[in-house]
Symmetry: C2
Subunit: 266 residues, 2 copies
């Protein structure tokens, strides 16, 4: 698993890259089943929308074997190491639900703004990764990205505690309009198992989902080890403090677990 | 302007039909400018979202010359007369804003349910028409249709007075899921000036719009004259009571008005 020069160039210029169907249906089916089971649990790591539907589950690698293996999977880790030229560790690990019918909006934001302000991350040398557990379609609330906005730096933002159940540093309409005039908007779609990677300063958001199609994604942040956070203020299950380089599992580790048929619980 | 047999068949089977770029850029530019001017007016026909952004303007044909001409335009009227085999009148006339950044959701519903319950319309022999004033894209809250759901009849619905500023008879999740399993979802997109027609019993809805791209559409209901409403309960500017057949203007009436450069006000 090595990115080509064209892929590296696209990431450098546009700030994002899609790797279609990087994980197999067998691997994704396992992860999807485990995600649903996790959402059914009542635990502090599982956050819900105002109506009770799951919104996001944090740190599933700590309590679920399938997600533990995914968090160390070479097909995900190696490309990011390649971009940064060094080892990476797991800064954040979420399973975002965007539930059928009720999936709520994520307003326009940059992630690095939050990592800097809340976690004390020195540089935007952390990569956002989205792994599609369901098919991501134009109609079920895909992530929308503003290409090339990663070059705009760390933009002024205000802390929105009201719109949804998840506090977020969001951008104002004038800023988003200006960046979209320059770069447009893309909403990468694809089959389950596809992986989207994008720059920590890339402006993104997603609309609500009113369709019967859920749009679960695993949403991880892989931080360059040298760029580890300095002044964490958020709980450990949100912004991890284990800065040791990720040791990859074997490429077939998830597939083996799926075939073992055993319940994947740590 | 005559629909082909293929177009008639598609409407009959699928319940909807898109006529791309039916109106010219010159005609649509005029309508778009006039729509913005109407939204700036404070009048009872202009309804707003909870945050003050315009949601819909009713009955603009009664106070705006450009929209008066559109409401009698042969490119819009003739195809509907062809489908119904008789004259039509204007049952409802809205300009829906779906504003940039703040455009709100329309939950899943059928329109005929409202026309029957609130207006006493005997049969679903009224046609929904959407004329795109802005480009309709996958990302700016397009109408989503459930193809073939028009054959499901008048489905049980509950009156939602809470979700948005506009009361609506909405369908439950189980019903929508069943119909989508059968027919899927389409979200027709297109350039300004395109016209979408769909059956009064076709299930439809639209997600919010968080992009900087507004998605204004003119949304009309043309009712077969013989099917005029019997027991109106809503204000005249919402459910019209002039049941006289529409007399079309000339095909170039809107273009002439655009060229005249005069302010289009009745």
């Amino acid at each position: 698993m090595k990115l080509t020069q064209d892929q590296l160039d696209q990431f450098e210029t546009e700030g994002w890259l899609l790797l279609p169907e990087l994980f197999t249906p067998e691997e994704v089916d396992l992860l999807r089943r485990e995600a649903v089971a996790i959402y059914d649990e009542q635990r502090p790591e599982v956050w819900r929308e105002k109506d009770g539907a799951p919104r996001t589950a944090f740190a599933a690698h700590k309590y679920n074997e399938a997600f533990r293996l995914l968090g160390r999977h070479p097909r995900m880790i190696r490309p990011v190491e390649q971009v940064f030229g060094e080892s990476v560790y797991l800064h954040q690990y979420k399973i975002n639900a965007k539930s059928a019918f009720t999936g709520a909006v994520w307003q326009w934001h940059q992630d690095y703004g939050t990592w800097k302000r809340d976690d004390g991350m020195p540089e935007p040398r952390a990569m956002n990764i989205s792994i599609f557990l369901d098919e991501v379609m134009p109609i079920n609330g895909p992530l929308m990205l503003v290409p090339r906005s990663q070059t705009a730096g760390d933009l002024e933002a205000s802390h929105d505690l009201e719109t949804t159940s998840y506090p977020l540093w969001t951008l104002d309409e004038k800023t988003v309009t200006r960046l979209v005039e320059q770069g447009g908007i893309v909403a990468p779609t694809g089959k389950p198992g596809s992986m989207l990677m994008f720059h920590g300063n890339l402006v993104h958001g997603s609309a609500g989902n009113i369709t019967p199609y859920p749009r679960k994604i695993v949403y991880l942040t892989l931080n360059a080890c040298s760029n580890h956070i300095r002044t964490p203020t958020r709980p450990e299950f949100i912004a991890h403090q284990d800065f040791a380089p990720i040791q990859c599992v074997d490429d077939d580790a998830l597939a083996k677990l799926a075939r073992s048929g055993q319940k994947a619980a740590a």
